[in-house]
Symmetry: C2
């Protein structure tokens, strides 16, 4: 039975463990600095046993699913200790930093920098679910720096999860993901915070949530421990997108203040174009 | 067969027509200044026939589902022409203005100011769907100004649609709805606009939409013709909430800029509290 070692038993690490155990019949060893996570993951059958770094030499696959600011340190440690055929991949939401840090490691060829575009607003081992990755895109960066047999092993595994693979430059990845995903998270976190601050009537929030609030604020339920490091690691791109977002909000507010219905509608009609993109049709 | 007259055959008016025809066996007469809407509503079986103002005297129920800035004018016209037992209700997202305007009309007692908290991001007669209102809250304002038999008729109708009724002062309604719903819409519209402006790669938007963007931007697909009048009519409350939202975004940005991880997490943890409210559990 091949051994899969998973570092970080949260939503992504836990869901990968669950699914790969089922679909590829791995023996799954879990590593997490939080003993509660280990306990929970064992209880829920997400992992077969708790492990440590001496389990790496004969591991077939190692997944790094720790918070993004810890990924570099853990990845370097792991790459020092693995066997010749071990596949190591991370699942971090920011890719340039990790790609830079492993670039000159002697075992760089065993590493695949990946970002599965999947998740929910929940966190921890309890949030782990089956089928989270089916039909989702997995972005792979600097694939040319991975040994072709190791990369092929990663592709087989990703295909067992029914993921779609997209190769991307890490700098481009971080820019795109800031604009599309990270900005959405900040927008939603701050919507939640603002509504809680100005709307003192919790019953009204609950009663009125069906008017679009519930879906727009969904991401505000996400874990601060996961997202603070992501925002800081992708700081420049995030700030650029936040500047644009704030500028647009201020402009929109001025249209409302001055009763400029024409400009107000124009701004909304521009936003409407997102419909055709999300439907995949121009 | 009792006659239902619906003014405005968009998402809400159309869905009410569809559902009430089925559940209460009305003959449905539609009125819409857009001839395309009339044509479409006839085609889709949303209405039985197109009508005009001379159809009001013997109508059992009249629904005002036109854009919120048109509601006062249409409502006053309708109240001038109805029969003694006709129930008239509007479905506007802003309530104080309409409540003020009908207050001294001789047929005020025939009117129910309501706001069904239901909808989708789509618009027009094609967006009309069955079961849109089941288990949704319908807010009723100044119910004491409606004749009790007319109000009871409205409650029977709302209950046929399986709506939950909540009585609310119109000033409080407009404040709550700005904070919870209208702010969400602006936040989402501007997210869509910003991402379209800074992210020139449409394929990247499409590929990365599963990372939370798709749900956060959903409301940006909404109709500008519906929402511009709502924002302007609820201007003061909306601006107050926008000011707070922008302030929070600027503050969050400064935490990222200064690597203030503690404050960043605190802001997100505060937002996380929305989870317990939306789950209905403190």
């Amino acid at each position: 039975m091949e051994k899969l070692v998973v570092f970080g038993l949260g939503l992504i690490g836990g869901s990968l463990a669950l699914d790969l155990k089922l679909r590829m019949n791995f023996k799954v060893v879990g590593i997490d600095k939080n003993p509660e996570h280990i306990k929970k993951a064992l209880e829920l059958g997400i992992i077969d046993e708790a492990g440590d770094l001496d389990q790496l030499a004969d591991a077939s696959v190692v997944i790094i699913a720790v918070p993004v600011n810890i990924i570099p340190k853990v990845t370097l440690q792991v790459l020092d200790l693995i066997g010749e055929d071990t596949l190591v991949f991370d699942v971090g939401s920011v890719k340039n930093e990790i790609c830079k840090i492993v670039r000159n490691h002697q075992n760089r060829k065993n590493f695949v920098a990946s970002h599965p575009l999947a998740g929910t607003e929940y966190s921890g081992p309890e949030a782990a679910i089956l089928d989270l990755f089916d039909n989702k895109v997995n972005i792979v960066c600097e694939a040319d720096k991975t040994d072709w047999r190791i990369l092929d092993k990663a592709l087989s595994l990703f295909k067992k999860l029914n993921m779609r693979i997209k190769m991307m430059d890490p700098v481009a990845h971080d820019r795109h993901i800031a604009y599309v995903s990270h900005l959405s998270h900040v927008s939603s976190f701050m919507l939640g915070k603002t509504v809680l601050e100005i709307e003192k009537n919790e019953q009204a929030i609950f009663d009125m949530a069906s008017t679009g609030f519930a879906s727009t604020v969904r991401l505000a339920k996400s874990s601060a421990n996961t997202w603070a490091p992501i925002f800081m690691e992708n700081k420049e791109n995030l700030i650029k997108s936040l500047d644009e977002y704030i500028k647009n909000l201020i402009e929109f507010k001025s249209f409302v203040e001055t009763n400029n219905e024409e400009k107000l509608k124009e701004a909304m009609n521009n936003a409407n174009y997102i419909k055709s993109i999300l439907n995949g049709i121009k």
